[in-house]
Point group: C2
DNA sequence: GCAATAGTGTCTATCAGACAATATACC
DNA sequence: GGTATATTGTCTGATAGACACTATTGC
């Protein structure tokens, strides 16, 4: 247990006398992509309300990017993990604690923060509309929910020496107090022995830092996971109808789904209750809850 | 474009006079889980060689963890992204450049490095056995390939207030110059409104830092992606038989597969060539290469 | 009764698991 | 010829897409 190194020093002696070198160190932040689903009023008393996917943004009150909208986030402290920093940020911004939280990706582009060297470890959180009431307008900082739209714009494929490069551009639109938009490209370089994917911000109107890229990445992760996990259930209130669940899937995937197939697919993810909707102007619907087993 | 903040300062003035605060900053490193597949000699001239999944480790020549085995890695420099640092590390350790590289996860547990506050952004690289010749024993540092085994040991499920906690323990064994082993647990806490997964090192014999956890995470990612992407093809040489490809899938998944079903499944991932194996002691096999389109 | 949604049935094409049958070099 | 692998065929059950049909409430 007390091996000596080439200077004849034990590990505990080494740690005792260890002084961090003069290497330059980055600041590390967490940035949170917090999603929720809200309901829009319907035209007719009979129609169901429309669902919308929303993300929480905060207007920057100081330089840099003064007045632009940014993801909630902040510096990671020496006594906490990035996970803990994310939980802390989430609680500060929304007041909620127990929600779905997942590390997304660590962004480290040079110059992504004009002030200094900052690496961001990004997270995605899913909040159900029940909890949503708790927050909003709690402290001075201006926070707002923006409706998310993320659609493919264009696709290019270029053949190269030993493979090809495929570039797909997406339009990210965020509608809230203001209308923000950005174009993000995803470039996949496929060669015989390698495959690499890169995200780039092509244009950007109203979002701070590289946050358009982070939001795009989060949406892609969310869309991917919705298909093969029960992740979308974290966007639902305690009780919900299958039609509401389907609407959430549809608004996340930006795609219409077939009712029968959808119900088969989610059958194992939900649990029947004996509750029903009432006064809907049409046939009542059974309420379900998330199925926890397995 | 030149908004003034509450002190009446423009963004460029702000950046001009910006001085990083006295916040403590972490060191950021990249750690690389570099996988390859090698062939073991067969008993009989007729039998095919057995494939093995291997990972590259480096014996630590100084404190802390002197003499233990660690993942290749190093500090991220101020003029590079974590991706670039990973590529640099990979080249330094193996001499190869164009390989599959994917960011895995950012580990930030308190005390994961006994010296100081270090956050590690981990990457997985896949190298094919062709390229493998290039490296090994190039510089003074002792690097070696270890055969990987990662098997479920035990599963527990505990019911709690509003959900359950499922703990699965895995045994990680690494066989190379020495025999290293660790037990890593994956704990999933499922409650009505949240789901969280956590990895923990239960025991650890011979691996430095929290690298057992990183390797476990990498294997799980690799196993997951093998099923629905062409990622495994990055472990293959330029030309290969379908049986060899199947063996790679089997050694990665630690599971036998049915031949007919396997061939149907990978049909679109590979491209026929007119080449065949020779002198095999049995019927020759057609050689395939990675199919690049789509 | 009618509008609007809830919920179920079923046909078909596709695909994975399972197993079998046939094919072919090389010693 | 015999061994060990290569390659294809096919049966079956499960599943997704597509569409249609029936059910039920509140006004």
């Amino acid at each position: 247990m007390s091996l000596l190194d080439k200077d004849g020093i034990t590990e505990s002696e080494f740690l005792e006398q260890y002084r961090p070198g003069d290497y330059e160190r980055p600041s590390v932040t967490t940035d949170m992509v917090i999603f929720t689903v809200t309901e829009e009023e319907a035209d007719s008393y009979r129609k169901l309300p429309e669902k919308e996917l929303r993300v929480l943004l905060i207007r920057r009150g100081g330089h840099p990017f003064l007045g632009k909208w940014a993801l909630p986030g902040g510096f990671v402290r020496p006594d906490e993990t990035t996970d803990q920093a994310a939980v802390r940020e989430l609680r500060e911004e929304t007041g909620v604690g127990e929600v779905y939280l997942e590390q997304l990706y660590t962004f480290s582009d040079i110059g992504r923060d004009p002030r200094t060297w900052v690496i961001s470890c990004s997270y995605m959180a899913l909040i159900n509309s029940d909890k949503l009431e708790l927050k909003s307008g709690d402290d001075a900082s201006e926070a707002a929910w923006f409706k998310v739209s993320y659609r493919p714009l264009q696709e290019q494929k270029e053949l190269i020496e030993d493979g090809y490069i495929k570039t797909r551009k997406y339009e990210l639109e965020l509608n809230g107090e203001e209308k923000l938009s950005a174009i993000v490209s995803r470039t996949t370089t496929v060669k015989t022995t390698s495959t690499a994917t890169e995200y780039e911000i092509v244009s950007n109107d109203g979002l701070a830092f590289d946050h358009a890229k982070i939001i795009a990445y989060a949406i892609e992760r969310l869309r991917g996971k919705v298909n093969y996990t029960d992740i979308a259930l974290h966007l639902m209130p305690k009780y919900f109808t299958l039609t509401e669940l389907q609407q959430v899937y549809e608004v996340v995937l930006d795609k219409e789904l077939l009712k029968a197939a959808f119900r088969r697919k989610v059958a194992d993810l939900v649990e029947e209750t004996d509750l029903y909707t009432e006064n809907a102007g049409h046939r009542p619907s059974r309420l379900y809850q998330r199925h926890l087993e397995d």
